[in-house]
């Protein structure tokens, strides 16, 4: 069932219940009024009858019937008037066979003085009448044909109104629901048109009134599309950069091998060329490893207990032996309890992240300058700093250094792919830490890994 149908039927149901309630009240009130009015008229008859017979002494039955025919008969259908005495026997008027009033009812009239009751299709009133000649009971009965007809008429009118209202409400409900939901259908159509190829398209935000739900929906869609477009763009750049980075060492190696195979050479020449190609291939493998890690690091394999204060030594051991002497490790005061220094994570990944930072520090500074690895712990915060006195990073380039494949202008002279730093940050963030880089062009760079640990 569509929302439109649901809304329509809900609307119809609500109105039907309301309408039925109002109509029932009207009908019941009318029924009450008709009955009361008829009873009042019967009572009038009974009183007139009593007056005519009993106050005007000695009136004959024929005279009353004459009177009744002339003045009273027309207005009430099948009217019957009877008078009984205290012994419950009919007086003055012969008992009408059509209305045999049962004795218990007459007795009830004697005690209660005024009783409304029904005899067959007639409504009746019994009146106790006290006269100087004795006590009498006067019964007036008649069929309420007009009242009944009026009620039936009212019922017909109400039914007609009900049916037409329902039809009208259904049609109006469908139209309004359709109109209210039209913008959603429009948004739906527009979103449907947008594919991966044209993510630049946007949903029209002015389909509906400003600030209403549909405008918000359109805005939400547009924001999502923006993020998607960004994501696609990043992915595209990543792939094209990666392809370029992979092709460069391959092209160099192929060229080198082609030149080598041109003619016969000395064994030393072969060795030199192959060593060069091997270097290129190792570079390539490292790049591929980094790329794989960049895409595969996930929290699933954070299962080691890693002592953060051990990391600097592990990392230094991973550095090429001829560079190791440049790495100086300094330690601040350690806490008396080693528990806060231990985090749950992946030792290999954390080591890789710090190694990348250390490699960068060594790569982008002069061969004779030291690189400091500083560890400190203070009030629940573990800080690992890698500090060099190298070329530094331009202020403008600093915000971009975490983009994969980004290389600052002054870094082009050094072999690298621009993957290490993004990977390091990814790993650190995976472990709930933060990686910050501060730098001053020409003076040096400090990379800082921060972990908030339970102190």
């Amino acid at each position: 069932m569509t929302i439109r149908n649901r809304l329509t039927w809900l609307f119809v149901g609500l109105v039907a219940v309301l309408l039925l309630a109002v109509m029932s009240v009207i009908y019941v009130l009318q029924l009450d009024y008709t009955q009361e009015e008829f009873q009042q008229r019967l009572l009038d008859r009974a009183e007139v009858t009593g007056y005519v017979f009993l106050e005007q002494d000695e009136l004959r039955a024929e005279a009353f019937q004459n009177f009744q025919r002339h003045y009273l008969r027309r207005t009430l259908t099948n009217e019957v008037l009877q008078i009984y005495d205290a012994r419950l026997t009919p007086r003055f008027l012969a008992e009408d066979i059509r209305v045999k009033v049962p004795d218990p009812v007459l007795a009830q009239i004697l005690t209660e003085k005024l009783v409304y009751f029904t005899i067959g299709s007639r409504q009746a009133v019994g009146l106790f009448y006290h006269d100087n000649q004795g006590d009498y009971i006067i019964v007036a009965a008649a069929e309420n044909i007009f009242g009944q007809a009026r009620l039936e008429h009212l019922a017909t009118i109400l039914a007609c109104i009900f049916v037409t209202s329902m039809v009208a409400i259904y049609v109006a409900g469908r139209v309004f629901a359709g109109k209210a939901l039209a913008p959603i259908a429009a948004v739906n159509d527009q979103v449907d048109r947008i594919t991966a190829q044209d993510l630049h398209l946007r949903v029209n935000e002015e389909l509906s009134h400003e600030q209403d739900e549909i405008t918000r929906l359109a805005r939400t869609f547009n924001r999502m599309l923006e993020r998607l477009e960004d994501g696609f763009e990043t992915q595209r750049t990543f792939v094209s950069n990666a392809s370029h980075e992979l092709r460069t060492p391959l092209t160099a190696s192929i060229g080198e091998l082609q030149v080598l195979l041109n003619r016969e050479r000395e064994p030393a020449a072969y060795r030199e060329a192959l060593a060069s190609v091997l270097g290129e291939l190792q570079q390539l493998k490292q790049l591929l490893n980094n790329l794989l890690d960049l895409n595969q690091t996930s929290s699933a394999n954070l299962t080691d207990d890693v002592r953060l204060d051990e990391l600097p030594w592990e990392v230094r051991e991973a550095v090429a032996p001829d560079q190791r002497h440049r790495v100086q490790i300094t330690l601040d005061e350690l806490p008396a309890d080693p528990a806060p220094l231990e985090i749950r994570g992946n030792r290999q990944l954390l080591s890789r992240a710090l190694t990348n930072l250390l490699d960068n520090a060594l790569k982008y500074s002069a061969p004779d300058t030291p690189v400091t690895l500083h560890f400190s712990y203070n009030a629940g915060l573990v800080r690992l700093q890698v500090k060099d006195q190298g070329i530094g990073i331009n202020e403008k380039a600093l915000p971009q250094i975490f983009q994969p494949f980004y290389r600052a202008d002054n870094a082009r002279g050094v072999v690298g792919h621009g993957v290490g730093l993004p990977l390091a940050r990814r790993i650190v963030e995976l472990h709930g830490g933060q990686l910050r880089v501060q730098s001053r062009l020409g003076e040096g760079t400090t990379a800082e890994v921060l972990f908030s640990v339970v102190g």
């Binding site: 002592r307 204060d309 051990e310 030594w313 592990e314 100086q328 490790i329 300094t330 330690l331 601040d332 005061e333 350690l334 806490p335 008396a336 080693p338």
Partner: protein, 116 residues
């Protein structure tokens, strides 16, 4: 990788069975395991290095500078408490819960391991 494995295998054979023992404390330099009274003790690389150094020189008092130079290959500023702190970490793992203490402080000189 294969070459690295081959190297470690050869080295492993060389030092195989190199177990250091003091009272009920045993340290296996090849397997890098430590047990006391049969219970394995989990140590970090630096803690293991420190214990190995102390056990190799059982009965000899080692100064903080000697320990720092060997375990951390570094000479720390006088301000750093790293040696003291690590000896403390090690005590908590090795001596805690045992009546017989094996790691001892020699005031003004350094640390020594011996049965007293």
């Amino acid at each position: 990788m294969a070459r690295v494995r081959a190297l470690t295998r050869r080295r492993g054979k060389e030092v195989k069975g190199a177990q250091l023992t003091l009272a009920d404390l045993t340290l296996d330099t090849a397997a890098k395991t430590v047990t006391r009274a049969g219970q394995p003790i989990k140590l970090t690389a630096r803690e293991f290095g420190l214990l190995e150094l102390l056990m190799r020189h059982t009965g000899r008092v080692l100064s903080r500078a000697e320990i720092a130079g060997d375990v951390w290959e570094e000479s720390f500023d006088a301000g750093s408490n790293v040696v003291d702190v690590y000896v403390n970490y090690l005590r908590n793992k090795v001596d805690k819960g045992f009546t017989q203490k094996l790691i001892h402080t020699v005031v003004g000189m350094g640390y020594v391991m011996r049965v007293e």
